[in-house]
Symmetry: C2
Subunit: 396 residues, 2 copies
């Protein structure tokens, strides 16, 4: 039963991430104008919607953005059932069973690609989507594969993404989109700050072999696993492994966060709620809520090339003073709520805050798009913000 | 005397635009973090600063952003006198006269380029500038030539610009910067909306010959000046010409706004305060406050190529109904305050509102810059927002 419920949860997360279940669009606080958004939603977001007003084919949810008295009106599409719970039901039916415990993907009748196409076709028929070509919609696409087939057709929207690993420059950017954290998978560490109970210098548990940027993992592990105070374990998601990972993260000073198949990985957020200082080796990582969180205060960044120099990482970590580690832990405790979806003042509110901050720019682009006349130029009409720092090899 | 005062005003405007007179930096409303800005200021901005608190080498001005209870703290550098009134004084001394009525540029002793260099050298020595490489500063560079020599050294800042005519893509963008209106030069039309007193179909007065995009002017005028209900006058800035322009704009239905040396021109704002519907022929124009102003409601946009087709413009304008013109005029009256620097709820407040809206993104870039590690990529690290509209040839 416990196993069933866990798998059902995975199924729901899968659906929410991959197929973007629900949309909303919203009126903004902007004077005399209307913006809209499509919001990805899962059970996680429901805490936000204190009040619900039914409308024709739409539901309105007043969003209270923390620390901001601006009123943002969010509307959510009432999606056809086939895009929501219908996926699970049809899957169960096709298998002639009421067992909801398997991924829809294992069902030969269910096609994720077909579902993506149908969803976007449905969306493109909606009056509110067509009004501004989706610029004022929010689309949840947290899984790296979410909507991969139709991303070009929803790219105008504010995308809620884990990183830009599989997203082209013209599909996603820090300007238009919001980086959202993965749900942490292991238990929050509720003990006090300190290093006495943290005998392990550096801990990692997870998949040793990944694609793309994650190829670094095997190289790193070969180098690190022979160190006495370092624990490296290969392991995939399972109940038992999660227990082991929890124990490891709660009893280590530092937690290794190498790139996965894409630059980000859920392990980072596990580390933070474990008060285990993240050691991030992922050159292209993007981080959630970086406008309000200075990650140098809670994590150590090392560039990939340097991290592979024999002895470099452990030497560096052993030199970090206890005082400095306590500072990191204190800061992690202070920002923990940002990474807890279940917290009523947590992740969901922060995502909405970030979306709300983008409204003036969305409104500008909507107005500007409509009055632009054709130009004699073949250059794409882009506005950019660039980094011209000569980046160091570590943030320490 | 009247002439002298007018020229002195021009001198001051010139100085303010070209040399960016004053800086400020400000603490933001963002939790536990500090942002800063350099603010260009002229007599126009003083209405904003209700209260003034002196600090060491800095002055703090609490900024009240209209319709927003977020507190933005603006600090302003106490600039060495040589960068402010000193320019005018040294100019007058060099000429052995107390006549302040000439442009400093006519003085062989004064070098605008040298002044730009010295100003940026001074700035780069300031602790607050160095802290974030100027990202949290605001620089007023409204004149198309302002700071042209040192733009690369201040490009991290929020630039207050008239357009991006002489600004490279990596120096300025809609994301980072704020488009500000020119001061209107002719009198506000205080009469009622209506077309009875507006017998002229289309009016233009200004320089027939301009550089770059403005070359279209001569072509357009050759075509238009033979039309009976169109008034095209060549004329440079003078008291008499401004009187003629005022009369023309107050008695015409439409006012032509072709590109000048750069895509924008002060004439647009003259048209708006005259309730004379702007006919904009300037494909790369950028417009102030476009997040809250839908310019299709107050202006007609035509692409350059179409505008040069014989008869196209007048045929189009003659077909616009009186009802539609009244709608345009009503909208212009509603947004007029955005273009009046002297209005206590006008341009200056709106500029600060736009700057304040950029703070989260500024803070994100500041935090991100500092934790970035070097990458194995030669591509510039840019975040962009692009337009992919298939633009029509006119907004009408």
């Amino acid at each position: 039963m416990a196993r069933k419920s866990s798998l059902l949860k995975q199924t729901l997360i899968f659906s929410a991430c991959t197929i973007l279940i629900i949309y909303a669009f919203f009126n903004t606080f902007l004077s005399s104008s209307t913006a809209a958004a499509t919001a990805g939603i899962s059970a996680k977001t429901s805490s936000l919607f204190a009040e619900q007003i039914s409308r024709e084919n739409l539901e309105e949810f007043p969003v209270k953005v923390t620390g901001n008295d601006k009123k943002v009106r969010v509307f959510m599409y009432d999606l056809p059932k086939k895009f929501t719970t219908g996926i699970i039901e049809s899957h169960a039916l096709a298998r002639g069973s009421s067992d909801l415990s398997k991924y829809p993907g294992s069902d030969p009748v269910y096609s994720d690609e077909k579902m993506q196409d149908e969803l976007v076709e449905w969306l493109e028929e909606q009056e509110y989507w067509r009004r501004n070509n989706g610029r004022d919609h929010v689309v949840f696409a947290g899984d790296p594969n979410a909507l991969y087939r139709v991303l070009d057709r929803v790219k105008n929207a504010v995308l809620l993404l884990s990183d830009f690993g599989r997203v082209r420059n013209d599909q996603g950017s820090l300007i238009k989109d919001v980086i959202v954290p993965y749900s942490h998978r292991i238990n929050v560490y509720n003990g006090d700050i300190g290093v006495e109970e943290r005998k392990t210098l550096l801990f990692f548990m997870g998949n040793r072999y990944r694609k793309d940027g994650g190829k670094i993992r095997d190289l790193l592990f070969q180098m690190l696993e022979k160190e006495e105070d370092v624990v490296i374990r290969h392991g995939t998601q399972s109940r038992e492994n999660r227990r082991t990972a929890t124990r490891g993260m709660h009893t280590s000073k530092f937690c290794l966060n190498p790139a996965g198949d894409t630059p980000s990985a859920c392990r980072l957020f596990d580390s933070i709620v474990s008060l285990c200082v993240p050691l991030i080796v992922s050159d292209s990582i993007e981080l959630p809520f970086e406008d309000v969180i200075d990650y140098r205060k809670i994590a150590i960044f090392v560039d990939t090339e340097s991290s592979l120099q024999p002895g470099y990482l452990v030497r560096m970590l052993r030199a970090v003073s206890t005082e400095k580690i306590l500072e990191y832990q204190k800061e992690m405790r202070a920002v923990k709520r940002y990474f807890v979806y279940g917290d009523s003042n947590g992740t969901v509110n922060e995502i909405w805050r970030e979306v709300a901050q983008k409204l003036p720019l969305i409104q500008l682009m909507i107005n500007r798009d409509k009055r632009l006349v054709k130009k004699d130029s073949t250059e794409p009409d882009c506005s950019c913000l660039c980094t011209n720092q000569s980046a160091p090899i570590t943030s320490l």
